[in-house]
């Protein structure tokens, strides 16, 4: 006698790309972009995105990237024109340049929203497009409002500190505690903005990540950084004592003061300080973000992401080394390896049939949106 029948089905993601295959596409893309003075780069971007979307599959179907290269080219030309306009204006009048800069800054949240919308609209799965709601008020609140509040608070506190000397220590303590909390909190708002406004066809994604669990990842990363840094310092001190290296000489690297092996060892140790915490934040954030996102109001459709910190770290190190030693030619393989790994650690979990997601009525994202869609190419990893 079985208990309640569980209809849970797991659909693992797969990435079927191949390094050599992508290398050929990549090198032709770059070559044609150079030969056409950058015009082909819009087509190159579409081909690259199509390669990665089409090769990602789940439940027997793959993702489609449908963007029109002409729209991307127009977007790039507009951004280029804005840049040229700015550099001309700086020559003519610094005041006018300041005003122009302010206008551009005010346009950023709008452009981010348009870009996300363009990207979602042009991504489809099983002939159903994704959608990103153009929620401008949230975008302005997050990308302009929150930084503004942050700076006002910082200025107010520093001002207070300089007026009332007694408050110096409490203010510094507030800063020390406040900064490590404020940055992940800001990130959390961005991620919520992205997930909550996204939908697959008519079915919206829901963001259920708690703020404290997200901040926890960052606090742990800070703790790891401090511990590793202490360890590295101890190792360095021991090394200098054993090898008898004069630390004063270290400052004259140009003159080749310290021995080369010692420099390499210290560079590697320096890498360890930031590499582990970096990989830790990346993997744990991905795992938590996917793990707490549902498709639809309830948890009938959810994700399971289980990236491993050390596996990701090994990927980072080997990819970077290979890229450096091949003068960049390894880049296509590095991208494919990363995509393969990420897909292999992601699962779509469904308690109901995945056949019933309804598409939206065909509504095109406005032409202007498409043109700005590629604006600075904002990347939000989901």
């Amino acid at each position: 006698m079985s208990a309640v029948q569980s209809d849970l089905k797991k659909y693992p993601f797969e990435f079927n790309g191949d390094g050599w295959e992508f290398f050929k596409i990549w090198i032709v893309n770059i070559c044609l972009s150079i030969v056409t003075l950058g015009i082909y780069s819009a087509w190159a971007k579409v081909r690259t995105n199509r390669y990665f979307h089409n090769n990602t599959s789940v439940a027997g179907s793959s993702f489609e990237y449908l963007a029109n290269p002409i729209a991307i080219l127009k977007g790039r030309l507009i951004v280029f024109a804005a840049f040229v306009l700015y550099s001309i204006v700086t020559k003519v009048s610094p005041v006018l340049a300041g005003v122009l800069f302010l206008i551009y800054a005010i346009l950023v949240p709008w452009a981010i929203t348009k870009s996300l919308s363009f990207r979602a609209y042009n991504t489809a799965y099983r002939n159903v497009r994704f959608h990103f709601k153009q929620n401008f008020s949230s975008a302005y609140l997050i990308y302009l409002g929150l930084p503004a509040i942050f700076f006002v608070v910082v200025f107010a506190l520093t001002g207070l500190m300089s007026i009332v000397n007694l408050l110096a220590i409490p203010v510094v303590i507030i800063f020390i505690i406040g900064f490590p909390l404020a940055i992940p909190a800001f990130q959390w708002f961005i991620k919520r903005f992205f997930v909550e406004n996204s939908s697959y066809g008519r079915t919206a994604f829901r963001f259920k990540m708690s703020l404290d669990s997200f901040i926890g990842i960052f606090l742990k990363a800070i703790l790891f950084t401090i511990l590793i840094a202490i360890g590295v310092v101890i190792v360095m001190v021991v090394l200098t004592k054993v090898l008898g290296v004069d630390l004063q000489d270290m400052q004259n690297i140009e003159e080749g003061g310290a021995s080369v092996p010692f420099n390499i060892v210290s560079a590697l140790l320096g890498m360890a300080i930031y590499l582990f915490p970096y990989a830790y934040v990346q993997t744990k954030t991905a795992n938590l973000l996917f793990g707490t996102t549902t498709l639809g109001e309830f948890s009938d459709f959810r994700f399971h992401c289980y990236q491993d910190v050390f596996e990701v770290m090994v990927l980072y190190i080997t990819n970077t080394l290979a890229i450096v030693f091949t003068l960049g030619l390894f880049i296509p393989w590095a991208k494919v390896r990363m995509a393969k790994y990420k897909a292999s650690r992601l699962c779509f979990m469904a308690e109901q049939s995945i056949d019933n997601f309804a598409a939206r009525e065909q509504e095109r994202v406005s032409a202007l949106g498409e043109e700005f869609g590629d604006f600075a190419d904002f990347d939000i990893g989901l």
């Binding site: 090198i27 032709v28 002939n127 159903v128 890498m271 991208k335």
Partner: protein
């Protein structure tokens, strides 16, 4: 020929196992779940081939057929559109890949070797002089704290050299405020360096090494050459450009590591700065020639510096970054047209 795949109607995510076939007259027929859909070829948007990724047939009324059978699709399509898939053809030809690789390598090499120095030069020449003054003051302050102490050279000798220096700078184009400073520095030894604003610092150890004022003149002219060609700023801009380029290349793919990337920067730096030293040498030679000063002075001074620094194994700024120091000395000797030079190398 039948092509197997899935059909999606575009209203929901439901997929139906389907078969697609090309008719002899160019019609496309999809048989999905017992229903047959037909459309003329020119009303169906067929996605172009990329690698071995799935293909999509988009029908006008919103339906879509997805298949992984790329080769069959290409074979069927060929009879109607022999020129389709041009880019994919390019991407699959070994010769095209090889040519692309060569073009990209050539462009990359040209950009690093000729492009970035040109941009650095362009920018350095357009930066306002204020920037140079600001940077120089900052640098001097830092150097004073770490490496330099007040000079112990006699007031008289300082004034003597100052007079020579003033004479020297009054002849050069003067958008710069040239200044000569003396500093004592055990750490740097016999050395001279130029700050971008036109301030030139000479160590006591260098002054002590010289026997006559004409010897130091060559060194000063060399340093003024660095200032006039804006070498330090060009180097700084160039370095940050290369650093940015490397970050852009590696960061894009692996999101990590700036540290290992500094290696190629150093290599490029060495080569680039050697050119600068040669340029400054040429400036000094030209100046000495115009003032009818024997070039042998510069030649002797360089030999002395090289000898003085051989013992501690470190080269001063004036000589560092020159793996082929000998070649430089030789080229100066060639300009002097003197077969033998008596340089009075001091032996400690």
């Amino acid at each position: 020929m039948k092509i197997n795949g899935l059909y999606f109607d575009g209203k929901s995510s439901k997929g139906i196992t389907a078969e697609l076939s090309f008719g002899w007259n160019g019609n496309i027929a999809v048989c999905a779940g017992g229903e047959i859909l037909t459309a003329p070829l020119d009303q169906v948007v067929i996605s172009s081939r990329i690698g071995n990724t799935p293909r999509y047939f988009q029908f006008e009324q919103g339906g879509k057929f997805e298949t992984t059978e790329n080769d069959v699709v290409d074979a069927c399509l060929y009879q109607f559109r022999p020129k389709a898939g041009l880019i994919h053809t390019l991407e699959s030809r070994a010769s095209i890949i090889l040519i692309s690789l060569l073009v990209v390598a050539l462009f990359g090499w040209g950009f690093v070797v000729y492009g970035t120095p040109a941009v650095a030069k362009f920018l350095a020449e357009r930066l306002p002089y204020n920037t140079y003054v600001y940077l120089s003051d900052e640098t001097l302050e830092l150097m004073d704290k770490r490496f330099l102490s007040p000079s112990k050279i006699s007031e008289e000798r300082q004034q003597q050299l100052q007079a020579i220096f003033n004479n020297l700078t009054s002849e050069s184009r003067s958008e710069y405020e040239f200044k000569l400073l003396f500093r004592d520095s055990e750490k740097m030894g016999a050395n001279a360096f130029a700050l971008p604003s036109g301030t030139i610092v000479v160590t006591d150890q260098l002054v002590q090494l010289t026997e006559n004022n004409q010897e130091i003149l060559g060194i000063l002219a060399h340093e003024i050459g660095h200032v006039i060609y804006r070498h330090s700023m060009r180097l700084a801009i160039h370095n940050s450009m290369i650093g940015f380029l490397i970050l852009f290349i590696t960061g894009d793919a692996s999101s990590s590591s700036v540290f290992i990337s500094t290696l190629p920067v150093t290599l490029i730096y060495l080569n680039y700065s050697r050119e600068f030293e040669e340029e400054a040498d040429l400036y000094a030679i030209k100046y000495l020639e115009n003032s009818d000063i024997n070039l042998g002075n510069l030649f002797c001074m360089m030999q002395k510096l090289a000898a003085a620094h051989k013992e501690d194994g470190k080269l001063p700024e004036f000589l560092s970054t020159h793996p082929d120091m000998d070649a430089r000395i030789r080229s100066i000797r060639d300009s002097t047209n003197l077969e033998s030079m008596d340089c009075n190398l001091k032996n400690k």
